[in-house]
Amino acid sequence: MKNSGLAGKHHRKFLIRVRKSQSFIPSLKFWHPWLRQVLDWMITFWSVLLCLLMLPTRFPGMELLGIGPNWVLIWVVSWSVKRSPLSGALAGIILGLLQDAMTSLNPSHALSLGIVGLVTSLIQKQRFIQEDFISIALIVFGMNVLADSILALQFCWAGDRQVTAIWIFYQRVTLASAILSSLWAPVVYYPLNNWWQRMKLLAHP
C-alpha cells in the first residue's frame, strides 16, 4: 500500500530500492533517530579506518609497479559525489591529515584531497549521469591525476627533491596509480553509497 503511494510521488528507481531493502529496513526504521545517527557515524568512521589501514598493505592483485590503490582518495570521492562542496572539501582535508599520519608530514595531503573533495562535489554527477559504476571509476581516475599533479607541485615547492626527478617519477607513476585506483573504486563506493542512501531515505522519507 505504502509502495503504491510512493510510486506516485517519486522516481521508479526509488521504489525498487525501497522494495529491495524492505526486509532490513523495519529493524532500522524503528530505531531512535539518535541511535541511527550514531550508527551512521560509526560506519563512516570504521570505513575511514579500514581505508587507512589498507594503505600500507599490498595484497596480491592490488599492486601495479609496486603501487597500491589510493584508498583514501576513493573514499573522498565516494563521500563528496552526492554532497555539498563544503562537506566534500572538509572531508578531503580531514582524510588528507590522516594520510599525512601514515606517510610524512610535509608536504601535506590535506591540500590535494581537499581540492579533490571540492571538485568532485561540484561536478554534480547525479544531475548529468544516472549510471553509477563507470562514472565513479572515471571520476576517481581524473581525481587521482589531479591529486598527483598537486602533490608534484607541492614537492617542487618544498625544494628538498630534484625537480627533474619529481617530474620523471610523476610521468612514470600517475597513469598506473590512476588506473589501479579507478578499478578498485567500486569496492569502496558501492557499499558506502548504499548505506548513505538508505540513511537518507530513513531521515527524509
Binding site: 557515524w41 579506518l49 587507512l52 589501514l53 594503505l55 600500507p56 598493505t57 599490498r58 609496486g66 603501487i67 597500491g68 589510493n70 572538509l90 582535508i93 580531514i94 582524510l95 591529515l97 590522516l98 594520510q99 599525512d100 599520519a101 601514515m102 606517510t103 610524512s104 608530514l105 610535509n106 601535506s108 595531503h109 602533490l151 614537492f155 628538498d160 627533491r161 630534484q162 626527478a165 619529481i166 617519477f169 612514470r172 607513476v173 596509480s177
Partner: protein, 278 residues
C-alpha cells in the same frame, strides 16, 4: 536573537563534531600516526605468523655462505691486527647485535618510499638508526612507535647518501630514484670510475657508518653538467624487502679520532647527507 539560537541548536552539534574530528585528525598527523601504526601492527600480527618466510638463520645454512663467512672472519682478524699495528681507530663500528625485524607494510602513498617494520621502541629501535638487508644499506629509521617503526628507504626521492667508490675512492652523493636504481652525482668533473665498480657509504657521512655496501655502477654519463652522474644498481632488493636488520646510529666521535688523515676539507658531505626529519 531567536533565529540565532535556533541556528545554533541546529548546527551546534555538527560544528562541535566537526571540530572534534578535525582535532583528532590533526593530532594523529602530528604524532606521525602512532595510534594507526600500532593498530595496523596488532591486526597484521596473526598474518605474519601464518606466512613465515625463510628466517635469516636458515639462510646461513648455505655452504658457500659459510665458506665466505670463514674467509671474512679471517680477513677481519687480519685487518684488525694491521689496524692495531697502525694505531688506527675505526669510527663507529656497527654493533655486533643488530635487531632483526620484518617488513609488514609498504609506503602508504607512492610518492614516498617507506616500509613499516614490526619492531619498535620496545625493542630498542630509535629514530636515525640504520637499516640493512641482505646486500647492504636499505635506509634510515624515520619514526618509531612502541612496536613498529617506519623506514625511509634510500630509494626515496628525498634520500641523499654520501658514498664512495671502493676501488678508487671517488666520492659523491647518491640520490634515490623511486626504483631499484639510484643516481650518483660525483663531486669531481671526471671521476676515476668505470662500470661495475662497487659503491659503499663514505667516511664523511655522519648519518651512516662508513663502508656499508650500497650497490654497483651500472652506467656512466661523464658529459652531464655540472658534474658527472652514474646510475647505481642497488644491491638490496628494495622492492621485495622481507627481513631487515637494524643497527644503532653512529655517534659523532669527531674528537676521538686523532690520527686519521688530517681533517680533509669537510666537504659539506655531512650536510648533504639528507635531512631525514622535516
Amino acid at each position: 536573537m531567536f533565529t540565532a539560537r535556533r541556528w545554533w541548536e541546529h548546527k551546534g552539534l555538527q560544528i562541535g563534531l566537526l571540530a572534534l574530528v578535525l582535532g583528532g585528525a590533526w593530532t594523529l598527523r602530528q604524532t606521525q600516526g602512532t595510534l594507526l601504526l600500532e593498530l595496523y601492527q596488532s591486526i597484521t600480527r596473526p598474518w605474519q605468523m601464518l606466512q613465515q618466510g625463510i628466517s635469516p638463520e636458515e639462510r646461513f645454512q648455505d655452504a658457500r655462505l659459510l665458506e665466505m663467512k670463514t674467509r671474512i672472519v679471517d680477513l677481519e682478524h687480519q685487518n684488525q691486527s694491521l689496524q692495531n699495528l697502525l694505531g688506527y681507530i675505526e669510527r663507529d663500528p656497527l654493533s655486533i647485535h643488530p635487531i632483526v625485524a620484518r617488513v609488514v607494510g609498504r609506503s602508504a602513498d607512492h610518492w614516498w618510499q617507506q616500509v613499516v617494520l614490526n619492531r619498535g621502541a620496545n625493542e630498542g629501535i630509535y629514530e636515525g638508526d640504520i637499516v640493512k638487508s641482505d646486500g647492504g644499506l636499505v635506509g634510515l629509521i624515520e619514526s618509531v612507535t612502541p612496536s613498529t617503526s617506519r623506514v625511509l628507504l634510500i630509494s626515496d626521492l628525498k634520500s641523499q647518501v654520501g658514498v664512495t667508490v671502493s676501488r678508487t675512492g671517488a666520492k659523491g652523493v647518491l640520490r634515490g630514484d623511486a626504483s631499484s636504481e639510484a643516481s650518483l652525482e660525483f663531486y669531481e668533473k671526471v671521476p676515476n670510475v668505470k662500470i661495475g665498480d662497487l659503491v659503499s657509504t663514505s667516511t664523511y657521512s655522519q648519518k651512516f657508518p662508513p663502508g656499508i655496501a650500497v650497490g654497483r655502477i651500472k652506467s656512466l654519463d661523464l658529459k652531464k653538467l655540472p658534474a658527472s652522474v652514474a646510475k647505481v644498481e642497488l644491491f638490496p632488493p628494495i622492492k621485495y624487502l622481507d627481513w631487515v636488520t637494524v643497527y644503532p646510529k653512529p655517534k659523532n666521535q669527531e674528537q676521538e679520532q686523532p690520527n686519521l688523515v688530517k681533517k680533509q676539507p669537510k666537504i659539506s658531505d655531512s650536510m648533504l647527507d639528507k635531512p631525514t626529519k622535516q
